[in-house]
Symmetry: C2
Subunit: 224 residues, 2 copies
DNA sequence: TGCGATAGTTAGAGGCTATAACGCTCGTCA
DNA sequence: TGACGAGCGTTATAGCCTCTAACTATCGCA
């Protein structure tokens, strides 16, 4: 709000119209999916002609990129808030499902099928990194500080320990995060398993199967 | 082949052109994704004008539906062959990954983001059921016939047993398959976990993270 | 051999993205 | 306070796309 106070009237108007465009864009995305988003239709809804929108977004891709950025931002903020409130991994899992079900197309916008040529800008990948960092925080928090090297307990399978060794060597994606290798592994399992369930559920692959996806989700959450 | 022998020349020609159209369609899908598929472009590649293709497919959706059906058919055949050769669950997992990596867009065509309004025809859901049946076969095969009701072994977590009880009551999706509840649970875990990994990998969410997705896949396969 | 079904054509309506060129208005600054 | 210029929105246009209508030409069967 500070910025909008100090800006010139022209800048304030511009920012306001951009927001209005994005709002209509979200409505279209929510109802028909990102692929059906039409600048022309948005302009008509706003009582303008199509080309006018090109004053605000260079092209359709730039608008979608902005929506993707905002979606990542929203998810990162949601996770960050949970983690700072002391949330554990199951808390994050529940938050993720709630966030996804609140607006399925928003989830699919960032984790759904990308168009082959698309390259996300640096800012987007940075925010995506924030999301992973929050997951890593939760994984590293609810964990034994340093499990002694007794190879007995629930018999870590060969692939699992091979993976952990590999991850210990390839932890660039975790940035400067101090999470130990088992936490890295848990974070990847969290991400991929829950994404698997959510994307199948949101894509409707469970409809008609009769069972309740929430129970499956809860069981997978607990298995982590 | 029998059919094409008994058919009239007209019918044979028609079937042949349909196949040629689908072949060009697959090329487009493989390079630019299903959303970029253009009947016009296909027609030009074949030396025809756009409207000519409407003699063979009522509209763009019907062509895509046919591609989806063929993709499911291909996956179901792949699974069925493995199961009949005595393949275990890890075998199916490896086959799934190979099938997905062979043509990522084909995988995403059936398991990627659907367009909101789309309703799959009965035949498609039936073939999708075949895929699940093969997984259920593998799950039921490599399993203890009837674990005695001793609630001790690796302490089944509350959510997991609640889920199994729920699945025992809602097994309509398994059809007449005789798989016990734990097998149903394993099949769903197989499907959702591996889909999670594959869709993230194919969507490029692992690129730039440095680690090898194959190792993560192997570890998850073993965890099943 | 002739006729009917069917393949492929052109023409065109209506949608989309995107650019170019034009007026008009609003805020700023002398 | 008044003039000027930046920026907003318009129309026109090009070039895609899907899909329909109407016409022509051809192929195969009776």
């Amino acid at each position: 709000m500070k910025e909008s106070e100090t800006a010139t009237p022209r800048q304030r108007y511009r920012a306001q119209v951009r927001e209005e465009i994005k709002q209509h864009a979200w409505e279209q995305v929510a109802t028909a999916g990102a692929s059906a988003l039409s600048l022309n239709a948005i302009a008509k809804q706003m009582g303008m002609t199509g080309p006018a929108l090109y004053r605000y977004f260079a092209n359709r891709d730039e608008l979608i990129t902005e929506l993707i950025r905002d979606a990542y931002r929203s998810l990162a903020d949601t996770f960050r808030a949970r983690v700072e409130a002391g949330g554990s991994l199951p808390d994050l899992a529940a938050a993720l499902r709630a966030w996804a079900l609140a607006d399925p197309q928003r989830y699919l916008l960032i984790y759904g099928t990308p168009v082959p040529g698309y390259q996300a800008p640096e800012e987007t990948t940075r925010i995506a990194g924030e999301v992973m960092a929050a997951v890593l925080d939760a994984c590293a928090a609810g964990q034994l500080p340093e499990p002694p090297p007794s190879p007995s307990p629930p018999s870590p399978s060969p692939s699992a320990s091979a993976l952990e060794a590999h991850l210990a060597d390839h932890r660039a994606w975790a940035g400067p995060h101090p999470a130990p290798a088992p936490a890295l592994r848990r974070a990847l399992a969290f991400w991929s398993r829950l994404h698997g369930l959510l994307s199948l559920e949101l894509a409707g692959h469970f409809t008609g199967m009769g069972f309740d996806p929430a129970l499956l989700y809860a069981a997978e959450t607990e298995a982590l």
